[in-house]
């Protein structure tokens, strides 16, 4: 069931290729805007700007999760499948999408602004954890925001404060991967991040039944 739903999300994305192309273009544009605005990028600045690019790209990639299909068709899905499974499929799909996007952002950003990453395996793990955290929080908030009319604005104001603990932990971890700060006990931060993710994903499943019904 989950696999079918996941396959549906991926198929949908490939049939409406303009949406994903739009997001990819968004990442490229942002990298070049940021690079044009700050010619020489110090590692500290690199770290912060990178996560800002990933943050904005992620919000824009996820916000369409619940609005690209009509309300009636979604209601039809909720009758066919368990709504929780549907949400889980969307979270997994968005995790994959965000991982691809952040790798893409990392690639282009490294080409134009240099690659200061010293600990590549750690950085890759951080990208994965980041995609997971962003995907969980943003997908759920998108499901709430989709119910309102001005969903783009709502999406931003609802998700920024909520994503803050995850974002700050990610920035700190990636500063460690860039060797900007020395910390041998960064595993604790990774566990913190996983704990926050676990709490949010649990709440997501408890609360989603109250969101999808109209």
């Amino acid at each position: 069931m989950l696999l079918t739903l996941l396959r549906k999300e991926i198929l949908l994305e490939f049939r409406q290729r303009y949406a994903i192309s739009g997001i990819v273009l968004y990442v490229f544009s942002m990298v070049f805007v940021v690079y044009a605005a700050s010619i020489k990028v110090q590692p500290q600045v690199w770290n912060v700007l990178f996560w800002l690019i990933v943050l904005f790209a992620s919000i824009n990639a996820v916000v369409k999760s619940f609005v690209q299909e009509s309300g009636a068709r979604q209601l039809y899905y909720y009758q066919l499948a368990d709504p929780a499974m549907l949400l889980l499929a969307k979270i997994i799909y968005n995790t994959l999408l965000l991982l691809v996007l952040s790798l893409l952002a990392f690639g282009t950003y490294s080409v134009v602004a240099g690659n200061p990453v010293k600990d590549v395996p750690l950085f890759a793990l951080i990208l994965l954890l980041g995609s997971m955290g962003f995907s969980i929080a943003f997908t759920f908030i998108a499901s709430i925001a989709a119910k309102a009319n001005n969903s783009a604005t709502l999406m931003a104001i609802l998700s920024f404060p909520v994503i803050m603990p995850i974002l700050l932990t990610l920035v700190r971890l990636s500063a460690i991967a860039l060797r900007l700060i020395q910390d041998t006990s960064y595993q604790r931060d990774i566990w913190n991040l996983l704990a926050i993710d676990a709490i949010l994903v649990t709440l997501t499943f408890v609360l989603f039944p109250f969101v999808w019904r109209d």
């Binding site: 404060p161 709490i199 969101v211």
Partner: protein
């Protein structure tokens, strides 16, 4: 009813005790602030909240202390006035340590005022080292402890220590109110399906829409206390840290936490159907509360902070309070909390009356 009276009583007590109880005597500065080894120096010690004239000069003892084992005792103590002492120190020719200069703490022990201390009061410079015997014959002992109702004297924060009863309790109240708000959101969702809603007892004043109003009212009151906490904190920071806003991690995270609730109010009002807005706002309130906890209690531990306890533990350390302060601090927390709940309840009732008057109930 009784708890409203109690809250007023405790807040009045906090205001009176928190502002009027004097600080224990302290030492603000000594003059001169530097000396060379081997010289006789007559040191002026300037006290704060002290009453040096209330005891004969020969009963007042003074030391310049390097560490637990090394100190020199002053003689010829003269009391100039209530806040100024003079004492003569024969600084030994050698320093207690193999360094070019040492910082010494000034200690005054007064029979009435008790003991007071100024860390790193005077710098003694010297370039050679030999025996440290002259430093070890002056053990600091039999100190007087002032036994009365007064707050500790702390260098750097001085009188602003009183802000402990107004700044710190705000965060307790904020957390209690946000927990209450999340709880009413849970209640709203629990009773939101028709079968459960039928079990609500209207004669006891229970209704679904009231849960939403309560959640909003408690969030509003929590927001108010968050603002008060930020303002009292900025006032304190202005004196203790030199700037009202220094981008301390706790300041930033609190500002972000308040944004969560501002977003909650906007979400609640952005639907045409009130029921839909109430339901989705309740969902967001619970979801956001789950990230409020790491925001206020986990993230600040990962970054350096100017707050007491600093890195690793931004919480309020037990060593920051003495027993006199506890006698005001704990009642302050209870008083402000009850007051916060009272405020939220009034806000809720006012909103209900307003809704009924405009036909929304």
């Amino acid at each position: 009813m009784w708890w409203k009276i109690l809250s007023v009583f405790l807040i009045v007590y906090t205001l009176i005790a928190g502002t009027l109880v004097p600080l224990k005597p302290g030492v603000t500065y000594v003059f001169p602030e530097s000396a060379r080894s081997g010289e006789q120096v007559v040191l002026q010690l300037h006290g704060y909240n002290s009453f040096y004239t209330k005891a004969p000069a020969n009963e007042i003892r003074t030391w310049l202390q390097f560490d637990d084992a090394h100190a020199i005792k002053g003689d010829n103590v003269r009391v100039l006035n209530d806040t100024t002492l003079e004492a003569r120190f024969a600084i030994p020719t050698e320093l207690p340590n193999a360094v070019a200069s040492v910082m010494l703490n000034a200690i005054i022990d007064h029979p009435n005022d008790g003991v007071s201390l100024l860390p790193s009061a005077i710098e003694v410079a010297k370039d050679t080292i030999a025996s440290a015997a002259a430093w070890q014959a002056n053990a600091i002992s039999e100190l007087h402890v002032k036994k009365d109702f007064s707050f500790p004297y702390r260098n750097v924060i001085y009188e602003s220590i009183r802000n402990t009863y107004f700044h710190v309790p705000m965060w307790f109240v904020l957390m209690f109110l946000f927990i209450a708000s999340a709880w009413y959101s849970v209640q709203f969702l629990r009773y939101s399906n028709p079968a459960q809603a039928a079990t609500l007892d209207a004669s006891k004043g229970q209704s679904l829409i009231d849960f939403d109003r309560k959640a909003a009212a408690y969030a509003e009151a929590g927001l108010l206390f968050g603002l008060l906490g930020l303002i009292t904190g900025m006032l304190w920071a202005h004196y203790a840290w030199g700037a009202a806003w220094s981008n301390d991690i706790k300041q930033l995270m609190t500002a972000v936490a308040l944004l969560i609730y501002l977003a909650y109010f906007i979400l609640r009002r952005s639907f045409d159907e009130p029921e839909k807005g109430a339901r989705l706002a309740a969902v967001y309130n619970i979801f956001a509360f789950a990230s409020l906890v790491p925001l206020l209690y986990i993230v600040p531990r990962m970054f350096a902070s100017l707050h007491p306890g600093a890195t690793g533990n931004p919480a309020f350390g037990s060593e920051d309070l003495d027993n006199t302060m506890r006698m005001v601090f704990y009642p302050a927390i209870i008083g402000w909390s009850l007051f916060g709940f009272w405020l939220a309840q009034l806000r809720f009732r006012y909103q209900r009356i307003l809704d009924r008057a405009t036909g929304l109930d």
